[in-house]
């Protein structure tokens, strides 16, 4: 009967229904019937490829894809791309977005082929392809319609490559050049001269000077400018922005050492519509002129002045004039105390995010005031606020029903009672309790029983809690995908085995758990199939049986830390050859592994490794052939 109802639905109705589904449900959907599968194939617009073998098949199966993510597809290289180009069944003409982050094995030739294949390409991400340089940039520049480009940490990219991109893709709207350390003023100048449509520019960490800012100021449509930690830029440079870039809405000058408040004042004066001002760790003191000028910013939503000396009175003045603020960062502002915070809570009732990390004088009174007035609060960072106790957390539990993120790392005052109060924030997604030594199973039990939406939990060095607490967590927080229980010394196999219930777990840190053995690890490997990141450093008692299970079941593992583990030659070889998606491996201080063991293990996975940490002496003991291949495939080796 149900079949007949389903067959009565026309295809466009099915498509409509399909659009309401979450990605996991869509997976089930396509298994229902051929009809449903067809709808899925035609409606799907984005895909993340995990194994390069299936790339051509999947591309031909889903003809309407617009977004293709190849960032976690370790074996992708130029050959795959050129084979793809020869395959007629593959249609890539609709692809608009291409994510090649960390795809270090794709080089200039592959990029050029891809750019030619995908005529409609608008967004490309090649961030963290550390070997990319001018040739690769020239390959990308073939995609003339490009609008967004992310090139973070393309370490060899120089002005010449940037010039190729700028001249090839003149319609660029967004470009991120973070950590492209070779870029100089000349490149930025050319970029600003040729790409007049630029709305977002990230030049963080570049060694550019004031000349670049002068060029940037000439961009008529620039809205977002990120220039974190540009050590050569000073106030004279920022002065250019006062009368330039008229549509600027967001500026980030975090950690620009030579920038002072006076230039920020000039920027504020020139841009009354500024919405986001991020000036963490570059302002030393909030001055009167700054307070007077910031009054004019009626639309200011974000203000980060972490590390500045802000007195309570100036915080009051500040918040009373900028009542639209939703995100305030005053971490490490040691002068901030309850009076200032209460004023802030009174004035900014729309507050969504508040960063009070390392504000040592903030007490429960301030937290209560914030919780009571700012009912929309979603994120609260209270790291190292030692005066906060259960009282403050009580009001958070009572009032902050929308709280999603709470950082209580290193807050001595947090105890089991406090956790009980916090557990009332039922929408909590991320909770950090690292270094809270006063919590035990009882408190963790409250979290596990009530915070069912929790996605991330950090219990780093919470030595007080043990197997029962972990069992409660594993039972209650089913959607947890990130769990940090490093150095929780009480934990044993009994507790660890419970983790297998967390099916969605992808990031697990078990560092320094001396009591767990192969059995515990095997249970995790069997249960948590989605595990992507696993830290087993200093888990000295895990024997080969655990690693063999890991090698067999955790096929999605992408990053693994095996430092100081007692893994044997064979187990390591098996891990490295079987874990076909592993990209990032730390293999330091493996006492039981011989040079040959390393050689074999690395040979088995050298075509997919992107990052590798080894003991320095191995540099001379591994065959140069292997090292060359690793290098050629874009693997970066850190010699410890």
């Amino acid at each position: 009967m149900s079949l007949s109802i389903l067959s009565a639905l026309s295809e466009d109705l099915l498509v409509r229904v399909y659009e309401f589904l979450d990605p996991p449900c869509r997976k089930t959907w396509r298994l229902v019937s051929k009809e449903f599968h067809r709808v899925d194939s035609l409606s799907r617009t984005s895909i993340t490829i995990l194994r390069v073998e299936f790339l051509p098949v999947l591309l031909s199966k889903y003809p309407n894809l617009t977004s293709l993510d190849l960032s976690v597809c370790p074996k992708l290289d130029d050959d795959v791309v050129s084979r793809l180009a020869l395959d007629d069944t593959v249609s890539t003409s609709r692809l608009k977005s291409l994510n090649l982050s960390r795809a270090t094995a794709v080089r200039a030739r592959g990029l050029e082929t891809l750019a030619r294949l995908c005529h409609a390409l608008e967004r490309v991400d090649v961030s963290h392809c550390w070997g990319f340089g001018d040739r690769e940039a020239a390959g990308i520049s073939v995609a003339a319609g490009l609008r967004e480009l992310k090139m973070d940490k393309c370490l060899s990219l120089s002005d010449v490559g940037l010039a190729r991109i700028v001249l090839g893709c003149s319609n660029l709207n967004k470009i991120s050049l973070k950590w492209c350390m070779e870029i100089s003023d000349l490149g930025i100048d050319l970029l600003c001269k040729k790409c007049k449509d630029l709305t977002s520019l990230d030049v963080s960490y570049l060694k550019i000077t004031n000349d670049s800012i002068r060029s940037i100021a000439l961009l008529p449509k620039l809205e977002v400018l990120d220039m974190v930690s540009c050590p050569l830029i000073d106030d004279d440079g920022l002065q250019y922005l006062e009368n330039g870039s008229p549509s600027l809405q967001e500026i980030d000058v975090t950690r620009c050492d030579r920038v002072t408040l006076s230039s920020l004042v000039s920027i504020i004066r020139g841009h009354p519509d500024l919405q986001h001002l991020k000036a963490s760790h570059c302002v030393s003191e909030v001055s009167v002129s700054f307070l007077q000028n910031i009054k004019a910013l009626k639309h200011l939503k974000t203000l980060w002045i972490d590390g500045a000396r802000v007195s309570d009175s100036s915080l009051l003045t500040l918040t009373s004039s900028c009542r639209a603020l939703t995100d305030i960062g005053v971490s490490r502002c040691v002068d901030v105390s309850d009076i200032g915070m209460m004023g802030l809570a009174r004035n900014c009732s729309n507050l969504k995010a508040l960063n009070l990390a390392c504000c040592g004088f903030v007490t429960d009174a301030a937290i209560s005031a914030v919780a009571q007035s700012c009912l929309n609060l979603e994120s609260l960072q209270l790291e190292s606020c030692h005066l906060i106790t259960e009282k403050g957390l009580q009001s958070l539990g009572c009032y902050s029903k929308r709280l999603q993120e709470l950082d209580l790392t290193d807050c001595d005052g947090v105890n089991n009672r406090g956790l009980e109060y916090i557990s009332k924030c039922s929408n909590l997604r991320r909770l950090k309790l690292g270094l809270c030594a006063n919590i035990s199973d009882k408190g963790v039990f409250h979290i596990g029983s009530k915070c069912s939406k929790l996605l991330e939990l950090d219990l780093y060095r919470c030595a007080g809690f043990g197997d029962d607490g972990l069992a409660a967590l594993s039972r209650g927080c089913k959607s947890l995908n990130r769990l940090i229980i490093s150095y929780c010394g009480e934990l044993t196999d009994t507790g660890i085995e419970q983790i297998r219930q967390l099916e969605h777990l992808s990031h697990l840190e078990l560092r320094g758990l001396k009591n767990i053995t192969g059995a515990g690890l095997a249970a995790i490997a069997r249960g948590c199939k989605k595990l992507v990141y696993l830290d087993l450093k200093l888990c000295e008692n895990i024997d080969d049986s655990g690693f063999w299970a890991l090698a067999y079941f955790s096929r999605n593992l992408r990053q693994i830390n095996l430092c100081n583990c007692s893994v044997s030659d064979t187990a390591l070889c098996m891990l490295m050859s079987n874990l076909s998606r592993v990209q990032d491996v730390d293999l330091v201080h493996l006492n039981r592994v011989t040079v040959e063991g390393f050689e074999f293990a690395l040979r088995a996975c050298c075509n997919r490794l992107k990052k590798l940490k080894l003991l320095a002496p191995l540099r001379f003991l591994l065959s140069s052939e292997l090292l060359e291949v690793l290098h050629a495939r874009g693997c970066r080796i850190r010699w410890d």
Binding site: K193, W548, T594, E628, A632
Partner: protein, 489 residues
């Protein structure tokens, strides 16, 4: 004859009209003197004589405008001279006009003499009038030029003003003297004899320069300089200065003078050590500048060439001759491709050879990046080219042949099945020995693993699967289930 006239006409007309477009008004005496100084230094100037000359013409015309009604006529007349350069009738009318003017002037001077008072203003009037007459005279003489120059080789001493340059000097000198009494004397002075002084280097037929020849070099009118031509052997000789005592040769005379000090005290006097320069006594007549001709027949720098362009100095001659007419025997030791015949050129090249050449897609190279970027900004469609040499190792499977990997220490252990790792190394590092336990491959049968029987970098996933299933007892995984489930959603 006809064509030459035309050429001449064109030249005059062109040069003057272009200059006259912006008439500079020299009104003060001081300015005139400046002009004359400029004139003496003409050797250095780019387009010397004519300019000064034209200034004079222009200003003289204006002065006349102020003085009398005949001013306009005067200018017209000047142009007339230029337009119909070689017309006896025009010449006649010119002469009669001048005669008239001189009479006028004579009357004026008579008047002054009769009146007994010397007015400053009147004196100035006379001076300017005289100047204009002189200039007219020169122009008239200049129009005779083509006909004169034929006779020059035969009768070089003809007392004419063959070229504007001399005329110009004369004019300025006259002005310097600033007295009409000296005029006659000055007229006797002209130095056509200079032409005579040239010994063997007979100036033969020059042709007037064509307009398209003005692009480079100085704009010296032909004949305003002396032309020297060295022989090939002379040019290529390593030394040009020889010691009269011991015969040692030197490239520079300064070096010779330094050398001479060793031959006795008489060579140590300041006078002996001083540069044996042109004994330039100020106020003496300027010597005719020297220009050089290349001995290579057919060369543009050869005086027989139609569009002859003289070389300025002996050094120019040497470099020109070596660069253009000799083998390029010096090869760059860096790139081994570029060749030079002048060592200095090689040295200049070697300084920059191998450094980053900034190359544009249009083929233009730049020594500096900012210049390249300026070029790119300026020209649509030009992009910086990426040099080929620094190509990176391609990320190909089995591309182990890539040798240019930096940071790879060539410490090859051979293949993996070499059993003992560098013994000496292990001895040196005790801590290291702890990290790597001795071989323990007995636990599991690696089969043919030692030899790596399968292709070295085979990326088949199941390479160890058999091992696992046999060793651990896990059932082999269903490989087919991965196709869709492996894609995260």
């Amino acid at each position: 004859m006809e064509t030459e006239d035309d050429l001449c006409q064109n030249n005059w007309g062109n040069s003057s009209s272009s200059k006259l477009r912006e008439p500079v008004c020299f009104t003060s005496q001081h300015k005139w003197e400046d002009a004359s100084i400029l004139d003496y230094e003409m050797g250095m100037e780019e387009e010397p004589a004519l300019q000064v000359f034209d200034h004079m013409k222009a200003s003289s015309g204006q002065e006349h405008n102020n003085n009398n009604n005949g001013g306009q006529v005067n200018v017209d007349f000047l142009q007339g001279v230029r337009a119909q350069a070689w017309d006896p009738r025009t010449m006649l009318s010119n002469l009669s006009f001048m005669e008239e003017k001189i009479h006028e002037l004579q009357d004026l001077v008579h008047l002054i003499v009769g009146g007994g008072r010397q007015d400053q203003q009147q004196q100035q009037h006379i001076t300017t009038d005289l100047t204009s007459i002189i200039i007219q005279l020169i122009s008239t003489a200049g129009s005779l030029l083509p006909s004169v120059k034929h006779n020059m080789s035969t009768a070089p001493g003809s007392a004419l003003f063959p070229y504007p340059r001399e005329a110009n000097n004369l004019a300025s000198q006259t002005l310097n003297n600033n007295s009409n009494n000296n005029l006659a004397q000055d007229f006797d002075l002209p130095k056509p004899t200079i032409v005579q002084e040239r010994e063997s280097h007979v100036v033969e037929e020059h042709e007037m320069k064509d307009e398209d020849d003005v692009e480079e070099g100085e704009n010296l009118p032909p004949g305003s300089y002396e032309i020297l031509q060295l022989e090939k052997e002379e040019i290529l000789a390593p030394h040009t200065h020889f010691c009269t005592i011991c015969g040692k040769g030197f490239k520079r005379d300064a070096n010779l003078r330094m050398h001479m000090r060793g031959h006795g005290d008489e060579y140590k006097t300041p006078a002996a050590l001083a540069k044996p320069n042109k004994e330039a006594v100020p106020g003496s007549e300027p010597t005719l500048i020297k220009r050089y001709s290349c001995p290579f027949p057919g060369c543009k720098r050869n005086k027989d060439h139609k569009k002859f362009q003289p070389l300025k100095t002996i050094l120019c001659v040497k470099n020109h001759y070596k660069r253009t007419h000799c083998d390029k025997s010096f090869t760059c030791s860096r790139c081994h491709t570029k060749k030079f015949s002048v060592i200095a050129d090689l040295k200049t090249h070697e300084k920059h050879c191998g450094k980053n050449k900034w190359l544009c897609s249009c083929g233009t190279t730049f020594s500096r990046k900012d210049k390249l970027f300026g070029h790119i900004t300026l020209f649509q469609g030009h992009t910086p080219a990426i040099p080929l040499e620094e190509s990176k190792p391609s990320a190909q499977r089995g591309s182990s042949a890539c040798e240019n990997n930096t940071g790879m220490v060539g410490f090859n252990l051979g293949s993996a099945n070499q059993e003992s790792p560098q013994p000496g190394f292990m001895d040196g590092k005790m801590s290291f020995e702890e990290s790597f336990s001795p071989l323990c491959f007995d636990t599991c049968n690696f089969g043919g693993f030692h030899e790596f029987p399968r292709p070295m970098f085979d990326d088949s996933e199941s390479s160890f699967q058999m091992l696992i299933s046999s060793a651990c007892g896990f059932s082999p995984r269903n490989g087919g289930g991965g196709s869709v489930s492996n894609t995260s959603l």
